[in-house]
């Protein structure tokens, strides 16, 4: 286990290093072949990141655990679909996790409650300030979020950590939806460059 307990996509690119900690991509390959021991190691590598992002979006602790379990089972079942040509293993897992979380909060029975929340705009914008631990990765991301314009930062925070659609973000911020769409893209591109994400 790394001390930060988080997933660092920058360290997940290559194959096995012959050390104790195999790369996440290798683990997914072994999981695809039904290797339960590899899944055990994989759990330790990804659980904190998955639970962290799910918890941010879903909020409710019990539901967050449910969704985290669903995500990890999806990794178990869908491991054969992971294609390292299309992106890192970390991105594959976190994309699954975030989408599951978003789907959960947007499901029908939640809709009315969220609409109320949207209407009152009672949402803390600077969600990153709530971060539970200050890992190195957390510091880097916080610094890069700080380099965005206010509108860009709010768009990213509300969409990614808040799980809102761009339309909801637009109404929360009182700007046209088209503006939010472009600012979301601009913001992620700027974050990508700031974080030195390899394409």
């Amino acid at each position: 286990m790394r001390p930060s307990g988080g997933l660092d996509p920058a360290n997940q690119a290559g194959g096995g290093h012959g050390r104790a900690a195999p790369s996440l991509g290798d683990l997914i390959g072994r999981v695809a072949r039904g290797d339960a021991a590899a899944f055990d190691v994989l759990y330790d590598q990804v659980a904190e990141t998955v639970f962290g992002v799910v918890r941010r979006v879903v909020r409710d602790p019990a539901q967050s655990e449910e969704v985290t379990q669903e995500v990890l089972l999806e990794v178990w079942r869908q491991a054969h679909k992971f294609d390292h040509e299309r992106g890192s293993a970390a991105a594959w897992v976190t994309t699954l996790a975030h989408r599951r979380a978003v789907d959960r909060v947007r499901s029908a029975q939640r809709e009315s409650e969220r609409e109320r929340r949207t209407a009152t705009a009672d949402v803390p914008y600077d969600e990153v300030a709530e971060a539970v631990e200050s890992s190195l990765e957390h510091e880097r991301v916080r610094r890069c979020l700080g380099s965005l314009t206010e509108l860009q930062r709010e768009s990213v925070t509300l969409a990614y950590y808040g799980g809102y659609t761009y339309g909801q973000v637009a109404s929360l911020l009182g700007v046209p939806p088209g503006t939010v769409k472009t600012r979301m893209r601009d913001a992620l591109i700027r974050l990508r460059d700031c974080l030195g994400v390899a394409e």
Binding site: G6, A91, A131, V156, L188
Partner: protein, 394 residues
């Protein structure tokens, strides 16, 4: 299904953050499947959101691990893997015959559209200008052949191939999207299979962001099919693995369904817009001193005006002077500043008239803005990401 919204690219950010409502998400996913540039961008943005996720890591309750492991042990994994033998399907993209009466302009646009689809144009320019020119020359020879015909096929196991084949050039251009990843020691091999025997037609390069090729395969003979197998990376002399694709090439296609274009037709020049993108802050810092070795704008104007290539063009004032206008529900919304906040800004443009993309690239490469920043070469009235220009009258 095609996005008619010209700003579809701007959805990439919202998509990467799952901020699209489900209907728009589904539409954008269909768009991604046919837009390699968009897929590449989304992949990069997903790497970025992965960092956002990693920054919020939080330890789950310890008991969760036992539950997950138990659930996995009780959950059957689906068995992947290619099925033994698969006949590829091919689908013709457009109307037969009617194209034969299309105007010469449309013919040229079709070629340009296919060139864009194969990534021959501006996208590859970002990588390596020289290599792109080299490979696009070979590819263009096939694409512009008078008997070139296009087919698409589904690969058993996943993925779609697009092939443009020309009997007169005895060659085809192959490209694929979404081929399943192979173990390190294996690669995909193309085969020409027909009356002349089964011949290897080359190993495919590794996919980049799900996109394979384009590659040229030579030695096409009448009656050939195109086949694809997964072989050891060194290549095999005859197929040792199950065929993942069996694509019927030209000769078996009824003549009326083959799409042809005729390069004897006189081609009117193509119009391109050269969009100059520079970092304004950096330019101001350098105080307008040109990049070392860069040609002067004066010599570029003299040459291009002399050749009759340049129609018009202007330098633009800095984006701080920009104004954006939107009309929504009959309400005019005006704001100060650029359309999008980016690291590089549009600093100027030129509209040029030239024979083909190669000439446009040559013209762009001589412009000083290309030495300082980036020039985007955009065909005028082309179509986005491989969309074939609509057939007139269709």
């Amino acid at each position: 299904m095609r996005f008619r919204d010209p700003h579809v690219h701007t959805l990439a950010g919202a998509f990467a953050m799952d901020a699209l409502p489900s209907t728009e998400r589904a539409r954008f996913e269909r768009h991604l499947a046919r837009c390699p540039d968009c897929a590449r961008e989304v992949a990069g943005l997903h790497e970025t959101t992965a960092r956002l996720a990693a920054a919020s890591a939080l330890a789950p309750p310890a008991a969760l691990k036992q539950r997950v492991m138990a659930a996995a042990a009780a959950t059957r994994q689906p068995a992947p893997g290619p099925e033994p033998r698969a006949a590829g399907t091919w689908a013709w993209r457009s109307r037969p015959r009617r194209l034969l009466t299309a105007t010469a302009a449309a013919v040229v646009l079709v070629v340009a559209g296919i060139a864009v689809m194969f990534g021959v144009s501006a996208g590859s320019m970002h990588d390596q200008l020289s290599r792109a020119q080299d490979s696009s020359t070979q590819i263009a020879a096939v694409l512009t052949a008078r008997d070139a015909a296009m087919m698409t096929g589904a690969v058993r196991g996943g993925g779609t191939v697009t092939v443009v084949a020309s009997p007169s050039r005895a060659a085809l251009v192959f490209s694929a999207t979404g081929l399943p990843a192979l173990p390190a020691a294996r690669g995909y091999e193309l085969w020409l299979v027909g009356p002349a025997g089964d011949r290897p037609a080359g190993m495919l390069p590794p996919a980049r962001h799900g996109m394979t090729g384009p590659v040229v395969a030579a030695g096409l003979q009448p009656g050939d099919h195109l086949a694809l197998t997964a072989e050891p990376s060194a290549g095999a002399s005859r197929p040792t693995a199950p065929m993942m694709l069996d694509l019927v090439l030209l000769s078996s296609i009824p003549a009326g369904r083959v799409r042809r274009w005729d390069d004897d037709l006189r081609r009117p020049p193509m119009r391109y817009m050269l969009i100059h993108c520079i970092d304004e802050a950096e330019e101001q810092e350098r105080g307008g001193v040109p990049a070392p070795g860069a040609p002067s704008i004066g010599s570029w104007l003299a040459e291009m005006d002399g050749r009759g290539v340049r129609l018009h063009g202007e330098r633009l004032r800095y984006v701080s002077d920009a104004t954006t206008v939107q009309v929504r529900g009959h309400e005019v919304m005006v704001s100060d500043g650029p359309f999008a906040e980016t690291r590089e800004q549009i600093a100027g443009y030129d509209v040029i008239d030239c024979a083909d993309l190669d000439e446009a690239i040559e013209v762009a490469s001589k412009h000083p803005a290309a030495w300082q920043g980036t020039i985007e070469v955009r065909p005028v009235a082309g179509r986005h990401c491989g969309d074939i220009v609509p057939v007139p009258g269709a």
